[in-house]
Symmetry: D3
Subunit: 193 residues, 6 copies
């Protein structure tokens, strides 16, 4: 029990850790690693529903949820940082989970995510990229210039067909627009730009 409480306090560091990539997009909205991880997990749940068969949706979700836990110890490193900085995520993950009754499961989820070989880990990686894309489009639609130069990098990293289709749809949206459908008395966000 003692180690579990400590672990959960440490998970809370992700609420206080800003995603550092946005430092490069002047005027962009700030977010925490926890903010990001939350939507990555929701996307993983959605994406794995779209894959037909053969995929363990719950494993993809758990992987998405924990994929950034090592950042509680390494910090969040943006692409520029990563050119100069080498993080030992494996050691960070091991120290984070050491002594937990379910340490093996967490370590195995994070290792599988890093390896990016299984179908589940590929879905979790796509969820990670799609979350970034949603946030880029939200910043684009808030009038932040320069987001378009990041988009090709995101698209190139997507590996599932559904992820690529969803990405195209996200890019075509106007995320700030809300439709109020008078007939159904119902609001919808987004819609074709």
């Amino acid at each position: 029990m003692d180690r579990i409480a400590d672990f959960l306090f440490e998970v809370g560091m992700l609420k206080r850790t800003p995603r550092t990539g946005w430092q490069f997009l002047a005027g962009a909205e700030q977010e925490s690693v926890a903010d990001h991880s939350f939507r990555v997990a929701v996307i993983a749940m959605v994406l794995s529903r779209l894959e037909d068969g053969g995929i363990d949706a719950d494993r993809a979700l758990r992987m998405a949820l924990v994929h950034d836990l090592p950042e509680a110890r390494t910090g969040d490193l943006n692409y520029m940082n990563q050119k100069y900085v080498r993080a030992d995520e494996e050691a960070a993950a091991a120290d984070l989970t050491r002594g937990l009754p379910f340490a093996d499961e967490l370590d195995s989820l994070m290792a599988e995510y890093r390896a990016e070989e299984t179908a589940e880990s590929i879905v979790a990686h796509d969820a990670d990229q799609l979350e970034l894309l949603l946030q880029l489009v939200e910043n684009r639609d808030a009038g932040v210039p320069g987001t378009e130069s990041w988009v090709p990098f995101v698209l190139k990293r997507l590996r599932t067909e559904n992820g690529r289709r969803l990405a195209r749809r996200i890019l075509d949206s106007n995320s700030t627009r809300w439709w109020f459908d008078q007939d159904s008395d119902w609001w919808v966000r987004g819609g074709k730009g």
Copy 2:
């Protein structure tokens, strides 16, 4: 696909929705509903590992992840607000998921959470309360006065034995303290206060 993108933009509202309960604790750290939901999901994963048998851990996790999605439409209502305000969470949930290929699954998860009858939903509710308790203790340890008057309300709402044991351990921690174990060259957060 169109509806999925719209849904994911709307999920992003939770990054911009502050948890309003902290308005009552002057000096407390601010957090978003997404920040909160992220750690609730991690706790649900942990708690359901501790329950022996009979519980669908993955269902508890999915429920914890989505439990606050209706707040994208209702906003976050603190305890004072709830005395004067009646939110139709069911309608909000229905409009949020309308037209999604997996709307039924999401609606069923949110309904089960609201009913708080199944073992999985009880674990998800305990995860929700434990997340609040962790944040209260983090604020207490940051020198914010007044947190102690909230604790009994949280403890009273916990329903699993593991949740209660974990709560006691969290209260006994000093969340700002880090131990550096020289022998193992390893840092631990928390530890007895």
Copy 3:
């Protein structure tokens, strides 16, 4: 005296309560309910000076000043929230003022505002809408996209002729521009866009 101090502490909640409508306009400036109420009161003072005769300008001002006090107990609900949430503003107002020596006066002001039937309450409502319009234009001029879709809703709600004329003038302004008149050695904000 005891109740008065308590009441004034509670009024302070409005400094900590963000106006939630701006969550929908990505990139928009944040403001508190107190920030908003301050300018609403100034506008009410101005607008009632423009109405000729028959209007109790001081009553309109007092009404504008207190019109959002119930939000100290209900929270601020944006248009989306209001579709799913029903707030009992009357009960909130009653509990807020209970026991105050001037409770009757405050209750009567808030009730008259909610009823929106007297000339004074109509001016106060127009002041509330014009404050929103000023902030929309300030955000528009700060490069925040999407403000224009809100404008028709504001215009439609205005009920006085002076309010409508002032609204048109506000929309025609460039709120970020300052004129420095060399002759008079004097700065003016705004001016035709």
Copy 4:
């Protein structure tokens, strides 16, 4: 109409102008001049209700509402600043209202406030000091050290008997505490410390 819109945009500067006194109290909550002015106006309304007879309550309220308008042009100067900086509030007030149809009224309100001779202006000054005291106590109760050294300065500046009585009551409060009265099913903020 043109000048009115410009004037109202300029009033909006007070939402973006931080009260600079709090820079000296590390850890204190930030607030805008508009936040402050809002509660000053509410206090003036309350205080003038307590004075028996002879006082024009509405004039005191209007004076409280506009008392910091010149800061839209001079900025907010804390006590340290005022030792080195001389602000021509009169000129700022004159330029702010120049050309408005009700410029004379506004100028006269601000001049009367500065002179601090009439009963109404004394009530408005006390409201200004009591607002500062409420905020000091809120910071004190949030665990911010050092607030007590400011209190004597505030008390010394109070000039009405009701203002002094209210100040003592505010100092005796615990602003973070809420009472829930089970019988009346009603929450009260504050109460004896």
Copy 5:
């Protein structure tokens, strides 16, 4: 030693003092006087390297570093404020350094900066203006409207030929753009717009 510690605490006020000029540019990034002073010092180091001979580069750097120290006592006054407010920077500087073993040196640096007569002080003033220009361009490239109306004022105040050349180059940049040179595996910020 006692006075030195006090002095360094007071220097820390500049971290908490916002640059007030940005209140006029809605949507602009906030910065502290310390943030600004840091880059002014770097620019002074750079600019004095470009001047050939005759200039004491280290004196220019020290002058740039301390040029805003009096603002720890006067606050930061924007151009609008300065029309109505007269700050006695000399008295503020004297009180700030009083009793320090190197008070004379600091006073002399600040006095020379204010006089703006020596080559070194002219370089320090240009560094101050160029820092403002860089920040204006960063805001311009972040989509903040209205920056262009400030640029002529900055350019007019530049006095060195190198300062003017650098200013033109800064205006021609796109500060949000990064070049990744594939051959050298190297990132560069800016580059022609």
Copy 6:
């Protein structure tokens, strides 16, 4: 000139880079790397004045000013991060200054700082630690718990006798207290606790 503008834009990244160590001290004030570097430079100027002879005060100042420039490319890594992350500061420094007319001087300053062998670099390192100590004491005096556990680490790293003496004096101060000396009509910050 082109490279200089690019370099200065990149220096601006330090205004947007938060010092990550404060994530561990809940409730601590946030600051940028530029905020920190500014006061480090002022301290280096002060400290080198106290050293008698043999030290190039201007070189120490320049070194202090540029010591964190590589963080524009590596990000700021706190002590926990540094256990898992290896930053190639040398490569970051080289890429940052590449092509600048005074690249050699900057590289040499940063290399000398990293080596920490010369008297000037030792003073600059002490300035870096003293700045951290000042900020720790400011947070301690703002009621942030837990600062005392950091102090021994700072003290251990100090290498000059003057640095150690100044540190003791800083620890003995009450940074939030201001003395107003009635005789001299003069305010002083700090003073014995």
